[in-house]
């Protein structure tokens, strides 16, 4: 972070018309005169103690700024996961059981559209249609639940694309396994084979795969917040990049990686709990 062009102390103080002496003093205060390896070592030590440092711009604790902006981002992400999993599972299962038919084509097309449509475009289209034309929902800002609907739908749709494709691939794989053939040979009704044998085997791994999409979700939330002018980690990060407030940028990225790793760990444990074979392997 320190190898970047431009002097943060100067950039931060230039606007207030500071003298060169004040800039130098601020540099010393921020520890920017120390050698780069020393600065890095200090950062790692602080990080190990859970200290993400202070914002250069506001002088506030980065960890506190992140915790303040977390609730709106978490709300949006959870709502989007609910939409994404519901739509993604539906499309994926539909495409898999009707593979090769027009329904498969429609479902996989919708999925690849979800995967390819930037949320900053689908978000604007949603605002155009539901807010400006129909006047059903507020376009931007936050407050009650009505403000959450459009951003959650837009981000959820983007998420559903990858979930649908993974679920479809997984269900197709299981449908061609021996035990499914055996179940059908025994003359069980199709719906029973599908729900009891296929989906149960297919969906536990789908959980892990959904957790892997959490990283996408964080990035998507950043962009979606910007489109709908919502507060949150995304706004915090974008402003910090523009103002070159590096401790805040670093803090948000480290926090995101930590959350990502924890969510995946939780998903692995949940899968071990669902699948007895894995449980024995792990314990």
């Amino acid at each position: 972070m320190q190898l970047t062009p431009g002097d943060p102390a100067q950039a931060l103080l230039a606007a207030s018309g500071a003298t060169p002496e004040q800039v130098a003093e601020r540099r010393a205060q921020l520890g920017l005169d120390d050698p780069v390896p020393a600065q890095y070592a200090r950062y790692l030590l602080d990080l190990a103690r859970g200290d993400l440092g202070q914002s250069w711009l506001h002088g506030r604790l980065v960890s506190q700024m992140i915790l303040e902006q977390l609730p709106p981002t978490a709300t949006l992400s959870l709502a989007a996961v609910a939409v994404g999993v519901a739509v993604g599972l539906g499309l994926g299962i539909l495409a898999a059981v009707r593979r090769g038919t027009w329904l498969d084509t429609v479902a996989t097309t919708v999925a690849v559209l979800g995967l390819s449509t930037p949320t900053y475009w689908s978000g604007l289209l949603a605002i155009l249609l539901f807010s400006l034309q129909l006047g059903w929902l507020p376009a931007t800002g936050e407050g009650d639940l009505r403000h959450l609907v459009l951003p959650a739908l837009v981000l959820g749709f983007a998420l559903s694309g990858s979930i649908a494709r993974l679920v479809r691939a997984r269900v197709v794989e299981v449908m061609e396994e021996q035990f499914v053939l055996a179940a059908r040979a025994r003359g069980l009704p199709s719906w029973r084979v599908l729900f009891v044998h296929v989906l149960r085997a297919a969906l536990a791994p789908a959980l892990t795969v959904t957790a892997l999409q959490f990283g996408f979700l964080l990035g998507g939330a950043v962009v979606t917040e910007s489109v709908f002018a919502r507060r949150g980690l995304g706004k915090l990060a974008v402003e910090a990049i523009i103002w070159r407030d590096l401790p805040v940028v670093r803090g948000v990225v480290v926090f995101g990686a930590l959350a990502y790793v924890l969510v995946n760990l939780a998903a692995d444990l949940a899968q071990a709990w669902l699948d007895p074979r894995l449980r024995e392997e792990l314990m």
């Binding site: 062009p5 390819s116 930037p118 604007l124 197709v172 449908m175 910007s226």
Partner: protein
């Protein structure tokens, strides 16, 4: 009705969807390459007396606030957006391919070190990693391209490694070892050519990813300076008058979405030709 069997796979030339996608990519590339002759006035030619004109016979896709022709800006913008995407893809493949190939072919300690590095990078959500790198390098289209390219590289390295591992298990690689071929010789002459097909397919998918996320960073204002005809930046510019002139934002978004979609569909099409029977 449940379909219990999978239909046979088809070669790329028999997949109409993938062919249409390929044609769209060719069209966009051609439009960007020929922008100077198709729109000789350039992307910045302003005419404030003709601001915010709706799409019509003289301006096919309308004009923006400064009276700049949207179609001309889209054609010229293709140079920015596609250029950014290709530069990013070059970074992704340039780093990911050698790392994955070397790890998969050499194995042992080399593989362990390279793959731990890749895993550590994969722990960061892609777009956040790219944003952090833009913060490092300072805003600009170049840094956005390098940043998203770097962010996509770890996933490419993983795919390259598993492709290399698959080839390495083939008997002809054992044979090459037996007649005394060096690891580098095996990598270049055997592993790379035989692992090429899935790597091309994944590169197409990654092109979609870097276009989507690179344009996202431009949309957020971290890349192209205001006024640049880059598609993501154009989309952001049109936000202010969405109600009165929706075409200013929607057409760049449509161009971008179709291009990302095309890259993904070409990737899917190539993937299908590789599916095991």
């Amino acid at each position: 009705m449940i379909e219990w069997t999978t239909p046979a796979r088809r070669p790329l030339l028999q997949q109409p969807v993938a062919l249409v996608a390929l044609a769209w990519l060719a069209l966009v590339g051609l439009g960007a390459a020929m922008a100077p002759s198709l729109a000789p006035a350039g992307p910045l030619a302003a005419d404030t007396t003709h601001g915010l004109l709706p799409p019509g016979p003289s301006e096919a896709l309308g004009t923006d606030l400064l009276g700049r022709d949207i179609l001309a800006r889209l054609l010229w913008g293709g140079r920015w957006t596609l250029g950014m995407g290709l530069l990013a893809l070059a970074v992704t493949v340039g780093l990911g391919l050698p790392a994955g190939m070397v790890a998969g072919t050499f194995g042992g300690r080399t593989e362990a070190v390279l793959m731990r590095l890749v895993d550590a990078l994969l722990a960061f959500p892609g777009l956040l990693l790219a944003m952090a790198m833009v913060a490092l390098m300072g805003p600009g289209v170049g840094s956005v391209a390098v940043a998203v390219g770097l962010a996509a590289a770890p996933a490419y390295a993983r795919v390259a490694r598993s492709a290399a591992l698959e080839v390495r298990a083939q008997p002809y690689v054992d044979a090459a070892h037996a007649i005394g071929g060096s690891e580098w010789h095996i990598l270049v002459r055997h592993v790379l050519p035989n692992a090429a097909a899935p790597l091309v397919a994944f590169a197409a998918t990654q092109l979609g990813w870097v276009l989507l996320n690179g344009a996202a960073l431009n949309f957020l204002g971290l890349g192209a300076p205001p006024g640049t005809p880059e598609w993501g930046a154009m989309l952001a510019e049109g936000r202010g008058y969405l109600r009165d002139a929706p075409w200013v934002s929607t057409f760049p978004g449509l161009a971008l979405t179709l291009t990302v979609l095309a890259a993904n569909l070409v990737g899917d099409g190539l993937q299908e030709t590789l599916r095991p029977r």
